[in-house]
Amino acid sequence: MRLFEYQAKELFKEYGLSVPKSIRADTVDGAVEAFGKLAPPVAIKSQVLAGGRGKAGGIAIVSDAASVRSEAERIFGLSIGGEKPGVLLLEEAYPHDSEMYLSVTLDRGERSFVVIAAKAGGVEVESLSGKVIRKIPIDGIDEKFAAGVAEDLKLPPRQAEQHARILLSLERLAREKECELAEINPLAVGKDGTLVPLDAKVIVDDNALFRHPEFAKLHPEDELEGEASRQGFAFVRLGGDIAVVGNGAGLVLSTLDLVGDAGGTPACFLDLGGGAQQDRVEAALRLVNRLPGVRRILVNIYGGITRSTDVAAGIRAVLAEGGKPLYARVSGADEEEARKLLVGTRAKLYRTAPEAVEAVVKGQ
């Protein structure tokens, strides 16, 4: 789960990381009011999860109340990567000379958390030069480790001491809150040499959320996504007209590829997950039937831990209620029994995924 900047900064403060004074605003009027409580110039920042916010025009620096209103209106209406902000963050601008980069992140290949630090920040991590990367011991880092990173960066003494303190806090935050990523980019170096985090990016391990109820209410929940997650399946809206449902992330991904290659546009990715039983299959199919823009449904099942007969029974039950045309490829464990369950229903049945995909894309 990726936190919004304003949420991540609340977490930063909890861990003793000083960030510029800021106020969140849910409306244009709220933005104007917040501006009055801050010392200008103030940055108005769109709270979206999509990357490239600055380049897309999602941040404005304003010095007078009149431009706050117009800029807040503009940014509320600005879609970045298909996402419009529900919240703006108004933050006192911090005059600075240079920008650094600091993060604690999972290195999948090394199977370890690592610190990534660089003297020059403000750009994507991939394009950083002079990166210092250090593996983090599983129980966390100590002062000596943090000081070593600052030393590797060849920071002047006063900055080195601040840098080590910030890294210790960031690492503790990442570890205690079970984050896959806790990133400060940029970490600004002020005119007087003070280091201040200007942006905050935090991604919490979804699988560890059961140990962190404090995150449960952070996201404004999309109704369908919330329902999907309560049902235990993975669901991503994709904007097209063919709902793609299957069991297993890889299988559904490859089905999206087949649909895309055949000229179709998927409306969603829905992975029933391992071991979906009839009630979950029904819930999934009812959900995609309600998804705006869906014209046809493609179900691609390869039975393993999921029993094909459970899926077939679910399809049968939902088709009996009505709903969008459904194209199904059911294979694997109990395949023949599953097919028998679907005979006489409105489901169009196929033996292979390409056949089912071709049919659903053409709408035959």
Partner: protein, 289 residues
């Protein structure tokens, strides 16, 4: 790397749960010698005639099983896995999805110090058709004995591709799901190295998906090591959006990191044939032989 052999005793952790029961039955039907189950507090019961013990240590002492398939829920996978490794289990197959990443890291580290092999988590397990043994949840009819090794980050894609291979007459020496999470107990590179020396394997099929750089690392490893056997690959997710977790915890593109195109390029650059769809895999295997 340890793989299961014919007739070796296997225990099932979490045997008394719904899926533990179902797959105990299916593993027994396939030929796996499931000798013990472990569920704390359920010692003395039996599932499919297999005795259940309270602890891994007891199950090991009574049956000699040193391999375990674990169906324990994600919240308890770390403690179950640790119990198994501490007791001396040498092959631990973790089927469970949604295990926290830090729990996985601790288990990986523990397995390394103990010299044990972990497969998974979030995987279908491992099957060796010629030995009539499977430790996992894969549907048996998709698999047949042969000379093609298959490993994948996705369970259902493993079945799909094994099924395609079987239908085309290419059986499998071994098929393993490395897991769909960011952290794998045993990595694609480790499997690749193992399969290089496996006399039963003539061709390796490597199935990847978006997210992370395991495929890029594997491709670099293949190029550097001058891999001695033909390799066919497939990568799922060419049409996947960015910044969205696509079902698996590990299947997410951040910026330009983890795209299918990058992985396909890396494989192509390493001289590995890349199938565009799962259905193309058998014909590329045919060309490789």
């Amino acid at each position: 790397m340890i793989i299961p052999g014919r007739g070796e005793p296997v225990m099932v952790q979490g045997m008394t749960g719904t899926y533990g029961r179902l797959h105990t039955k299916l593993m027994l039907q396939y030929g796996t010698k499931v000798a013990a189950g472990v569920t704390p507090g359920k010692g003395g019961q039996a599932v499919e005639g297999v005795p259940v013990y309270d602890t891994v240590a007891e199950a090991m002492e009574k049956t000699g099983a040193r391999a375990s398939v674990c169906f324990v829920p994600a919240e308890y996978t770390y403690s179950a896995g640790k119990e198994a490794l501490d007791a001396g289990v040498t092959l631990l197959v973790l089927i469970t999805e949604h295990v926290p990443v830090r729990d996985e890291l601790r288990l990986v580290q523990l397995a390394q110090t103990r010299g044990a092999t972990i497969i998974g988590p979030n995987c279908p397990g491992i099957i060796v058709p010629s030995q009539k043994v499977k430790m996992g949840i894969m549907p048996a009819p998709s698999f047949s004995p042969g000379k093609v090794a298959l490993f994948s980050r996705s369970g259902t894609l493993t079945y799909e591709i094994a099924g395609q291979l079987t239908a085309a007459g290419y059986g499998q020496s071994v098929a393993v799901g490395v897991g769909g999470d960011p952290i794998n107990g045993s990595t694609p590179i480790e499997w690749m190295d193992f399969l290089q020396n496996d006399p039963g394997t003539d061709v390796v099929v490597a199935v990847g998906e978006i997210g992370g750089d395991a495929e890029e690392r594997l491709a670099r490893h293949i190029k550097k090591s001058g891999y001695g056997k033909p390799i066919v690959s497939y990568v799922a997710g060419r049409h996947a959006p960015k910044e969205k977790k696509m079902g698996h915890a590990g299947a997410i593109i951040y910026g330009d990191f983890g795209t299918a195109d990058s992985k396909i390029r890396a494989f192509t650059d390493a001289g590995v044939k890349v199938a565009r769809t799962p259905m193309e895999v058998p014909s590329l295997v045919r060309q490789s032989l």
